[in-house]
Amino acid sequence: MSAGILLQIAQTLLAILLAPLLLGWTNQCRAWLQGRGAPPITQPYRNLRRLFHKDAVIAHNASPLFRFAPYMKFACMALAAGIVPMIANDLPFSPAADAIALVGVFALARVFLALAAMDIGTAFGSLGARREMLVAFLAEPALLMVFFTASLISQSTALPQIVATLAHKEFAIYPSLAFAGVAFWMVSVAENARIPVDNPTTHLELTMIHEAMILEYSARHLALIEWAVALKLFTYSALGIALFLPWGIAPAGNYGALPLALLALFAKLAVGGFALAFLEAINAKVRLFRVPEFLGTAFLLAVLGMLVHFLLEA
């Protein structure tokens, strides 16, 4: 039990510390694919350090909610990183929150940030909040449906249980998971504010979603948000790996498999980050009102995945 708790803390810390690295790697890959010189892979760390050292500038009429939201967002993402099995499968904290609660944690972070965005009362903040909630209202149920497909196969909504079932059954092919996989990809693109739904590098008012929400943040608050964004990307990637490529995650109680699991995680994340950069490089951002169509497709695919499960696999 105590070893389990140590492992739990170690995994969460690992995710928090490595998350900016994944972001740096993705940015680097994208720069290569776009044919420009790449920033160093450690650039996100430098940004965080710089931001933490600055003085926070806050609008005159900001309420305590505004200052609280970044901490809340960071805490939620750290919690999410603790729930998802990344390298090991016995996480003592996982019974406290299952896959549905994970969706709830993401929603909690999102609602706090959207409220904080509306707190200052500039046109951009509420615009960002509105767009973010528009993206969320389709992405969230789609994500839930992806989890449902996986949990129908494993007869459990507990993430370690899902991973154990999917990784250790004989190599069975689930057609429902193929649908769910595509839907998950689309949802994770939207939830992490990447192209084609949102562009993390733009500050153009016509297109920005996530950046519009955090426009008023500076210094340590912005650093926490940026870090939480990186952590969210990391957690989503780990989640995708856990659901669709779970091979290599150390089963419960098998500590000898940990080094190999760590290596497998790094390899998969490296490939995943490159794939993300590649898809971003070949796509263009869609218009805002095409986003519901994009996410509606994801939602539909996820529901289809569930139906396919009932039709073919039940």
Partner: protein
């Protein structure tokens, strides 16, 4: 000395509520301040009702006969676990709302506080009697008293024509529903002529009915109770009546009265009918899901804060009815364990909704009192002037948006689990329906978060859209206490779900014959077993707090806490005003655009040459135009036809009587 029976205590509570109302009425003209202690005592009685029900849960049914009413037709009363769960909800939620009302109505309003206090306490007492009634006669008397007293409460500000109209619509729908209920009890009675006790629920339970007549009774009950609960398409009165009433009354109506309709449906379906057919469940599930989605979409486009909450109540009723439908499907399919899971989710959500919707409605009451407007377009930034109201309302907002670790998440989690654990049902088509239904519930829950961000963000955050808002005053301490009570309910129901599930287990067992196993671990909610699904909100909450604390400490320790205040970034355009924030319409615009087919959108856009350009937009309910207006026109037409034989000349009327007499003499010879 023996302890008084729980049912006696509850009857006494109803009596005290009545007496309080009368006392308030009598004393109010001479002592205007008397309404405060009256409402405070009412709150204390609410606590008594809640505690009695809590203590009763798990024991066998108690009955009583009240010798009032018509000769030979006494009132039969009965308290069982189902009644007790709803009495629990009624008592504790009413306690918070009455506490708030003690501060709120004290400030005076349109109606004299005496009459208002009488109607208010009559309303509470009649709702309690609905829960206790054990015969159709007592039930209908209590039901009608409930409708009438709430009608007078809705029309408190009767000098405003819109409010009179809303009250009329409410009364009309209440009576259409009541007729259906009367017919339903008639069917349940079994048509036995001469059976003087046929009207008691006891004899209805004994009656053996064919599936056909059972279905008729169920459909009548669904219509009658659905009209009260706000099931689409009988929901039209709800967005009119709830905003019209004073806020504590809206809280009572939305939080508690809608639940009496759920109680009635449960009572008839699982208590009085001996069989449950799967298609009833499918029908209710479908209607419930349509209601949930329809309600939340319309909530997103409202600009009146109380109307928004009323539509959100429609959504929540839809979710409750979906859970009920699922439970019927499982019962009919012989899957008792799953039926128990769905039923637990249903009851849990009913209790949750009483607390968070009560909290949100009284919160809007404080805002309304401080600012004088219900339109969100004239609000904003109130978190700075009314911090208590704002932060307590935030609890309700997070709870109703279904976010962990508050209570709204628990019931939605349970409901989604019920969908997920569906192992092949016997009817194949149901296996297809379940995933789609689960997707709809998830969609409605996600949209609810959108609605609540809009509600909270536009009212409490941002800059004041009206300069006079700076003078908005915080609610009084009684009002804060009432809100605190309801908010504490939301937090507690969210943090210890395993205990709550254990408490309502006797009612679930009574309805479905099975209970959920909580494995005696009060920290962990695991409806089937911990390997399949589990949720421990208290651990969750502690971990979030710990991480928050650690991060805060680390950031402060390793860096610095320096803060500089400045103007918000103006994008190079210095003339930013508060009117450039999103208005309520603006925030709802994406949803309106996506779901425009469901609503009738009427826009009035200004001419480019107009000096004072005005923009107006309204998203209206299609059902009103497609269903209710044709019915109203038909009624008008019919009465015009009937009016033809009504001349006002005495000779003609004498001829009518004469002809009728002749006709009867010939016919009944």
């Amino acid at each position: 000395m023996t302890l008084p029976l729980s049912i006696d205590l509850l009857m006494l509570a109803a009596l005290f509520w009545l007496l309080l109302g009368v006392a308030g009425l009598v004393l109010a003209p001479r002592r205007p301040g008397v309404s405060k202690p009256v409402f405070l005592l009412g709150a204390a009685i609410g606590v008594l009702v809640g505690v009695t029900a809590l203590a009763f849960l798990g024991s066998g049914p108690e009955t009583a006969v009240l010798l009032i009413g018509l000769p030979d037709l006494p009132f039969h009363l009965r308290l069982d676990n189902l009644s007790a769960v709803f009495a629990l909800l009624l008592g504790f939620a009413a306690a918070g709302i009455s506490l708030y009302a003690a501060g709120y109505f004290h400030l005076g309003g349109e109606s004299p506080p005496g009459t208002l206090g009488l109607a208010y306490h009559l309303f509470l007492a009649s709702m309690l009697m609905v829960l206790l009634a054990d015969d159709a006669y007592a039930f209908m008397v209590a039901w009608e008293l409930m409708a009438l007293s709430s009608y007078f409460l809705v029309t408190t500000d009767h000098k405003i024509p819109e409010i009179r109209q809303a009250g009329f619509l409410y009364l009309l729908m209440a009576h259409v529903g009541a007729i259906s209920l009367l017919l339903c009890f008639g069917v349940l009675q079994g048509g036995e002529v001469g059976n003087m006790n046929g009207y008691t629920f006891g004899s209805m339970r004994q009656a053996q009915m064919t599936p056909f007549w059972s279905s008729v009774a169920f459909l009548l009950a669904l219509f009658g109770f659905g009209a009260k609960a706000g099931l689409v398409p009988m929901h039209v009165w709800l967005p009119e009546a709830h905003p019209a009433a004073p806020s504590p009354v809206s809280a009572l109506m939305s939080g508690i009265m809608l639940k009496t309709a759920i109680y009635g449906l449960l009572r008839v379906t699982f208590g009085l009918l001996n069989i449950q057919l799967a298609w009833w469940g499918t029908l209710t599930l479908a209607l419930g899901l349509i209601t949930a989605l329809y309600g939340v979409i319309f909530a997103a486009v409202q600009s009146d804060m109380k109307r928004l909450l009323a539509w959100s109540s429609i959504e929540n009723i839809g979710i409750i009815l979906a859970g009920f439908g699922l439970s019927v499907i499982f019962t009919a399919d012989g899957k008792g364990g799953l039926a128990a899971l769905a039923m637990t989710a249903t009851l849990y959500h009913a209790i949750n909704h009483a607390f968070f919707k009560g909290l949100l409605f009284v919160g809007t009451g404080s805002v309304l009192h401080a600012t004088g407007t219900r339109l969100m377009g004239g609000l904003g930034g109130l978190i700075r002037f009314m911090p208590w109201t704002a932060w307590l309302t935030l609890v309700g907002v997070l709870a109703i948006a279904g976010l962990p670790p508050l209570n709204g998440f628990v019931s939605e989690w349970l409901l989604l689990q019920a969908f997920l654990f569906t192992p092949g049902l016997h009817q194949n088509y149901l296996n297809m329906v379940i995933p789609i239904a689960a997707a709809t519930v998830a969609l409605a829950a996600a949209l609810a978060a959108y609605v609540m961000v809009k509600f909270y963000g536009v009212i409490f955050l941002g800059q004041p859209r009206d300069p006079s808002l700076v003078k908005a005053r915080e609610a009084g301490w009684l009002q804060r206490l009432g809100m605190l009570w309801l908010a504490a309910g939301c937090v507690l129901l969210g943090l210890v779900p395993a205990l709550v599930v254990d408490e309502i287990a006797p009612a679930v067992k009574q309805l479905t014959g099975q209970v959920l196993v909580t494995q005696g671990n009060w920290l962990l909610l695991a409806p089937v077993n911990a390997d399949r699904a589990s949720y421990a909100p208290l651990i969750f909450f502690v971990v979030v707090l710990a991480v928050l604390g650690l991060v805060f400490f680390a950031v402060r320790r390793l860096y610095h806490g320096r803060v500089r205040r400045a103007d918000p970034w103006d994008c190079g355009y210095p003339e930013q005003t508060a009117r450039m924030q999103d208005s309520a319409e603006g925030f709802g615009q994406p949803i309106r655009q996506v779901f425009e087919t469901f609503m009738r959108v009427e826009r009035e856009t200004p001419d480019p040459f107009e000096r004072k350009p005005q923009y107006q937009g309204a998203s209206l309910d299609q059902i009103w135009f497609l269903v209710y207006q044709p019915i109203a026109r038909m009624v008008d037409w019919l009465s015009a036809q009937v009016g033809r034989i009504q001349h006002g000349r005495i000779q003609w009327y004498l001829i009518y009587s004469f002809a009728t007499l002749i006709f009867l003499l010939v016919w009944t010879r």
